[in-house]
Symmetry: C2
Subunit: 176 residues, 2 copies
Amino acid sequence: MATALTPGSREETSVRRKASRLDLFRFVPFRLNRLSAEVSAALAGEYEARYGLDVPEWRVLATLGFRNDACSAQYISDCTRTHKSTISRAVTALMERQIVERVENAADRREFRLRLTRKGRALYEELIPRLLRKEQEILSCLSASERKLFAALLGKIERSLELVQTSQEADAKEAY
Amino acid sequence: MATALTPGSREETSVRRKASRLDLFRFVPFRLNRLSAEVSAALAGEYEARYGLDVPEWRVLATLGFRNDACSAQYISDCTRTHKSTISRAVTALMERQIVERVENAADRREFRLRLTRKGRALYEELIPRLLRKEQEILSCLSASERKLFAALLGKIERSLELVQTSQEADAKEAY
DNA sequence: TTAGATTAGTCGCAACTGCAACTATCTTAC
DNA sequence: GTAAGATAGTTGCAGTTGCGACTAATCTAA
């Protein structure tokens, strides 16, 4: 059936690879891509099949559920690094299902303040434990200290790519 | 302009989060997804704009370039965990551009043996150093030992999700 | 005040990709 | 040998998503 998937390479051998060849299996961007897809698929089983949510919808739910106050679609778009048109469609779908509601912002009538309905909050509360359990399941191959280390290393890369703000930056923006 | 992106949360605080709330910024699946997208985008600048390759095409190129012998589309599909229809279309596009060529396999006329043309090999040789440099650039925020550690942790998760074969499995399949 | 720039959100369009059906070929079982 | 099942690869179709244009509202600067 399947042939060997790592032709001539072994994860463990730390021989320096030639500059003129690239082993996909050791190439971090590819590995991240594949891992991300696999992890997403594993989680999708929790919220897609069971609750009929797709990824953008889940992100809206997660952002609104985590916050106590209402926020704009633009804010969700920034937070989740998801295109505003994608967020817009997700919000529309969630409003139709009465999971999210929005109110005009009198202070700036371009934007709407979004928040979970009671039904949306209930859905959120039901879904979260499942997802956290799934996350722990995926990370269960790591020890507690390895998990911390992994999170810290991810954080370093994220910060260097400016995917998250440092505390100082966040403070500065909250300050004025 | 932008409001703070991590409302009320700090990466560094290691307070145990409540089970009923989930901070996207600490949720590993989300972080992987976002990081993967960002890293892919950073690399795409190298092969998309400059060489007109999309992700599936790059994967075909990378798989064929790494191997010395020809292989089937199915093999590439397995290796890269990319759907066979996607690989099929990528191969078609690369053949039109004379980057890849294929020959019938007399032993099994359902499949074709794929390999890089001279032009394709030249493209590969030109592209690889750029991509490896970009990868190093992205990982330059980590020390050498941190990079090793990160790779090892990725490997653990990959193996637990059966994204890669262990050496033993690969050996077993090569053996018969 | 007012013109020009900026921002929030929506929507049409096009590109991409997974699914599933299809053809051609090979393998297995009888 | 033949029928049933499996496999390689292609393609039509539909769902998703990013881009960019658009409207409406706000901000800026003279």
